[in-house]
Symmetry: D2
Subunit: 365 residues, 4 copies
Amino acid sequence: MSNEINDVDQDGSGATTDRRTLLRTAGIAGVAGAALAGSMHGKFSLAPISQAQAQTATSMPKNVDKPWWPSKWGKDDESGASNHITPAKVLDAAKWIKDGKIYKIGRVYEAAMPLFGARVFALRIPGSPTGGPFGDNKLVYHDEFLATEIGQTGTQFDGLGHIGIQMGKEGDKSEMRFYNGFTAAEISDAYGLKKLGIEKLKPIFTRAHLIDMVALKGGMMDAGQEITSADIKAALAKQNIPESDIKPGDAIMFHTGWGSLWMKNNDRFNSGEPGIGLDAAKWIVEKDLALTGADTWAVEVVPNPDKTLAFVVHAELQTKNGILNHENLIFDDLIADKKYQFVYSFTPAPIKGATGSNGCPIAIT
Amino acid sequence: MSNEINDVDQDGSGATTDRRTLLRTAGIAGVAGAALAGSMHGKFSLAPISQAQAQTATSMPKNVDKPWWPSKWGKDDESGASNHITPAKVLDAAKWIKDGKIYKIGRVYEAAMPLFGARVFALRIPGSPTGGPFGDNKLVYHDEFLATEIGQTGTQFDGLGHIGIQMGKEGDKSEMRFYNGFTAAEISDAYGLKKLGIEKLKPIFTRAHLIDMVALKGGMMDAGQEITSADIKAALAKQNIPESDIKPGDAIMFHTGWGSLWMKNNDRFNSGEPGIGLDAAKWIVEKDLALTGADTWAVEVVPNPDKTLAFVVHAELQTKNGILNHENLIFDDLIADKKYQFVYSFTPAPIKGATGSNGCPIAIT
Amino acid sequence: MSNEINDVDQDGSGATTDRRTLLRTAGIAGVAGAALAGSMHGKFSLAPISQAQAQTATSMPKNVDKPWWPSKWGKDDESGASNHITPAKVLDAAKWIKDGKIYKIGRVYEAAMPLFGARVFALRIPGSPTGGPFGDNKLVYHDEFLATEIGQTGTQFDGLGHIGIQMGKEGDKSEMRFYNGFTAAEISDAYGLKKLGIEKLKPIFTRAHLIDMVALKGGMMDAGQEITSADIKAALAKQNIPESDIKPGDAIMFHTGWGSLWMKNNDRFNSGEPGIGLDAAKWIVEKDLALTGADTWAVEVVPNPDKTLAFVVHAELQTKNGILNHENLIFDDLIADKKYQFVYSFTPAPIKGATGSNGCPIAIT
Amino acid sequence: MSNEINDVDQDGSGATTDRRTLLRTAGIAGVAGAALAGSMHGKFSLAPISQAQAQTATSMPKNVDKPWWPSKWGKDDESGASNHITPAKVLDAAKWIKDGKIYKIGRVYEAAMPLFGARVFALRIPGSPTGGPFGDNKLVYHDEFLATEIGQTGTQFDGLGHIGIQMGKEGDKSEMRFYNGFTAAEISDAYGLKKLGIEKLKPIFTRAHLIDMVALKGGMMDAGQEITSADIKAALAKQNIPESDIKPGDAIMFHTGWGSLWMKNNDRFNSGEPGIGLDAAKWIVEKDLALTGADTWAVEVVPNPDKTLAFVVHAELQTKNGILNHENLIFDDLIADKKYQFVYSFTPAPIKGATGSNGCPIAIT
C-alpha cells in the first residue's frame, strides 16, 4: 500500500483525478491499516474493505440509510438513554430491592486481563511507602499510579463518544459522525472529547433482565454465534419472564458463558465472541431499552455473520440510538441464585471527555 | 541532611553506635524528606519531626498506645467497615428511597483539579479516531489513555492499604503497619498491594447523614478549623436529626464549604482544610460508622491543631478501625434541596492492589 | 462556537450550502479550539483565525505558495537533513575534537520543568525496591515508570512527523501535509506514526556554530524579539567566525539568555521567547544546514512579529526543508569557555513512530 | 505463603520470638514474592530462597564478604566508572575515528519488544493532529505520549541506582545498599531516586572492544551458557586484538547471537540468556573497564551456573564497582564489517532520579 502511495507522482502540479482517487483509496487503507495494526496485538481479523466500497468512498456506509440525528432527546442532547432514568423509573426499580443482597457484576482489574488490541493496563505503586513517615504519629501512605485506556479495559462502560461512523470522504473529520450527529471535528480534542464525554451521562439505576443463554443453549455459546430476538423470547419464556415485563428504560444482559474464558484462555476470549446481532438490536431499540450488557468484551456477535460488517451493533445501538453498553460483566453468582431480575446500578466515573468508564456495577435484589 | 550522611565515615568497619544513630536519624529524615519533596509541589508544610522523636525512633508513634489488630472482623479480614453492609443493612437503607431522585456527589475528573503533592491526572485521546474505519459500515472508535494516581486524585475513596503507621525502626517495612496489623513487608508489591487492595471491599449501600457545617457556622469554614463531636451534635439538632438516628454501619458526611474553592482557588484549597479531629473521630468510632466523607481533600482538619500530628484522623479511622473515607465530594444540590439523609451508594472500582478508587458516588432520596 | 453548531438545524435532510459553510467554519474553530484549550494550560495566546481565512478554507495557507515535495532526498525520504551526515562529514567534524572536553548541552528532565500546554512529565519509582531480594546474594533492584510526551518535553529533538500544515479543507487528514508531502492520513496511527517516525533519522555528528546573541545584544533577549540573518552575521563577525566557515550539513545554535528563566520563572519562560524568524530561516535554508538549536522551547521567535503566523519557522525549516531542530539546550559552559565551534553529537532515541526524542546532546571540543 | 502469615496469631499481645521469626521469614518471602509475581509475567524462575538462608537473615548475602564502599572515586561519588571519561580518554578514543562511519547499536523501541517481567511500553499519539491548525499558516502538530519503565525497556543503560543488595534484616531499607554504600533509606523517593540518579553520570565516549562469541563458538550461544575470561582471551586472539590493548576506562561488548531472537521469539529470548559470569566479571574489574554491553537483556549469564545466585554479575560490576552496563545492543552491522574496535558514544538521558536511560548508543569507526 505505501509503495503505491509513494509511486504517485508528487510533482506539486496539483492533484489529478487519478491521483485523487488513489489518495482517497490510500486514505481508507491508511486509517484502517492503523487500526488493524492495533488489532494485530489482539484478537481477530476484520473483513477486508471491499474494492467496490473503496471505489465509492463517498457513498453511504452499509447499514446507514439516513441521518440518525437529531436524537429523540433533542439536538443538543449528550446523555442518550441515560435520560430514561427519571425519579419515577428509580422508584419503579427500587421495588425490586427485596433481599437486600448486592452482587458485584464487574470484574477485578489487573494487568493479566484480556485486552483489546494494543491497549494496556499498567499499575505501579510509587515507592514503598509512597510517602512518610510524617509527624510524630509517623503516618505513611501508599498511592498507586495507573496508565491505561481507562474506559476501555476490563469491565467497561461505553459512553457515547466511543463509537462513530465515517460518513463522506475517508479521513474527513467533519464527516465522521457520532451520537446525535456530532462530528469528530466538533468533539475531538487530544486531551479529552469536547462533547459526548462520559461525564455527560446520568446515573443509571434501573430494572435489569438477565438472559441466560447458557441455560437456553445447554452450554457456553461460541464465537460468531448470534443471539437473536427469538433467542431472547425463548430465554424469557424459559425463565418465566413475560416479554411485557421488559419496559422502556430497562437494561438487558446476556450470560453467554464466554466469560468463563477470562484469564483462563485470553487468546480464545479475544478471538471473537457470541452476542447479539442486528436482529436483536432492532428488538432492543423497539423496546426502548437504556442499556445492554454481557459477559463478553463487546456484547455483540464477533465476527458478525455478515463478514463485511464490523461492530455494527455498537453503531446501531450506541451511535444511532444512544443506548449504553456494559462489557465484561460477570453473572455467575446471579445465575447460581437464579436471580434474573434485579436493580442494575452504575454511575460512570465522570472523567471529563472520556469515552467510557471503569468501575464496579452492582446488581441489587 | 545529605551532607551529614555523607560526612559519616563509611569505612566499612561496621557501624559504630554513633553512626547507627545518625543513620537512623537519616532514615527518618530521608523517608520523610521524600514525602516532603512531593508535598513541595503541593500544599502545606508538615510539622518537622521533633529531635526528641528522632532520637527515640523505636518508641511508639504518637497516638498509638497498643496494637490495633486483630480487627473485630477477624485477623484475616481485609474488608474493614464495608462488612457492615449486610442484606439487612441494605434493606434498611432502601427504605430511604422515597423521591427516586439521584444526586451525583462526585466531581468531574480533569487535569485542572487540585491535586495533592506531585500527583498528576493526564488524559489523552489516542488518534482521532483511535481506530477505523472498519468494515463496509465504516465504524470508527475513540479510546482514552489515562495516567494518574487513580485512587488518589479528584473524588477519591480511600481503601485500607492507603494509610499506615511506621512502628519500630524507621525504614523497616516489617514494622510498618496497616489495617489489621498487616505490614508493608507483607502487602507491598511494585505492581499492586498484595493485601488490602481496594478490590477486597464490599459494595457500600447505606444510610448517610450529611452535616451542614456551613449552616451551623454561618459560612465556609477555614483551613485548620476543627469539627468536633459537639459541632456534629449541634448540627444534627439544627437539622432535626436525633443523634439516636445515627446507626452502626451508617455514613457521615461533612459539608464545610471548602469545596467552593475547587478549581476556583486551587492553591488555597490545597493549603489546608477544615475537618474532623480526633475528638470527632472518637465519636465516629463509638457510633461504629462505616464511612466518612466531606467536600475536602482529606475529610480531617489540616493542619491538625496539634502541630506534631500529620493526618492522624486518617490513621485513627482507617488504619486502626477500618472505617472508609470518601474525599472531594460535592453536596451543593443536596444542601439546596435540604436533603440531609439519603442512601449513599458506591462500590469501589476493583482495581487489584489499588489503594483507593475513582468513580461517582451517588446519593439517592 | 458550540452554540452555533448546536443551532444548526440538524434535521437529517442533508446539509444545505449554508450549513456546510458553517460546519466548515466550525471545523476550523473546533480543531483550533482543541489546541487552544491545551495552550490555556501553558503559555501564549495565538492570533485568532481571521474571518477571511475561515471563509476561504480551501485556499493556500499563508507562507505556502506551492507544494514543497518531493524532497531533495527523493520522494520516499523520511530522514531529511540527517542525510547530510555522511562519513566525509563525520571525518570533517571530528577534526574539531582538540581538547577532548565534552559538554552536556541537554537539561535534566524533571517534573518541575516548564512544559508546553497540557504536557506532563510524571516519573514514579515502583516499589522500594521494585524487585527482590532475589537469590542468596539478595539482589534488589529499582525501576522507574515514566509517563510523558517523551519527545516533546524538556530538551527535545523535533523529528519530521511533528509539524505539518493543514492544506485544503479543515479537518481533512488527506490534506494535512508533513515533510516530503506525506499526509496525516498516511502517517497517522494512534500507536505511533507510520511514517516520519523519529527512528528514521540518521545519527547526527556534525560541526556546530554557536551564535551568542546575549553578547551581541548586551543581555538576555526578550520574548517576541527576532533574530535576523543580519544578527547572525554580526554575531559571527564578533566571534571571529567567517560566514564562509558555515558549511552545508552544519548545525547552528542560538544562545539568547532566555534559558536563564528555566525553573526560575516558568510562566515567563512559557509566555513567548526570542528566536529566529522567517528571514533567518531563509538564510539557514540557503546555507543548507542540518539542524537548528537554542536555549528556548521553540528556537523560533514567539509570538511571530506577524501576528497571523503561528510557529511558521517550524514549518519553514522542518516541514518544507527537513531541517531538524533541538530545543531547550543549555550553552552556559560553552559560553564561559568561549567555545563557539564544536562537534554536536546526538542520535535520537529510536522510538518507533515518535515525533521527537528525549536524550542528552553533547558538544565535543 | 500468605496462608502461613495469616495463621500467625495476631493477638496484639506483642510479637513472640516464634512470631518474629515467622514474620521475618514472611518478610523475605513477601518481598521476594512480589518480585516473583512480577517475573511470572515474564521469563524465568529464580532459585528459591534456601531455608537456611531464610533462617539467618542477618548474615552476609552470598558473594559479599565485606563492605564495598567507599568507592575509589570518593565516598560522595555518584558517577562511578563514568569518571574514567576524561579529556585524555576522549582524545585517545577519537583516534579511532578513521572511516567516519557511524553505526546505531541501539534497537528501535516499540511495544512488541521483549520486556522483562511486568514492564510495559505504551506509546500513544494524542489526537490527530495533537494540536492545530494554528494561525493563518495553519500549522498542525503531533506529540506522542509514552508510559514505560523508561530506563529499563528495550536498549537500556543501567545507572547506579538500579541494582543493590539487601544487607542485614530483610525489608530494612537502612540496610539495603547500593553503589558506594548508599542505602535505600537514603536514596529512595517515590518520585525519583534522591541519589545515584542517571543524571549524575558523565558522558561516555570511549574505546570499545567487541567480543564476537558467535564466531568463537561457531553459532549462537544458549541460555545459561557462560562467557569466561578464557573465552574473552580466545576471542581477542582470534580477532587479532592483543589483550594489552584493553585499557582502563574502555568498554567491552559481547555479541552472543542471542539478539537474533529479538521480536522473533520473545519467549525464548526472555527465558534466560548467555553471558558473562563472575569469572569474566573479575577480569573486567581487574582491567578497570568503564562499561559492559551485549546483545542480551542482562549482559550476564541467566540463569547463573550457581543456581542460588540471581543477577550476581550486575551486583559485582555495578553495585560494588560502579561499572556501567548497556543491554539489548545490536552489533550485526559491525560484525558484518569486521569492526571489532570503535568509539562507543552514549550520554544517558539525564532523567532526574531515574535508574537507567533509553537512547541510541553509537559506534564510530
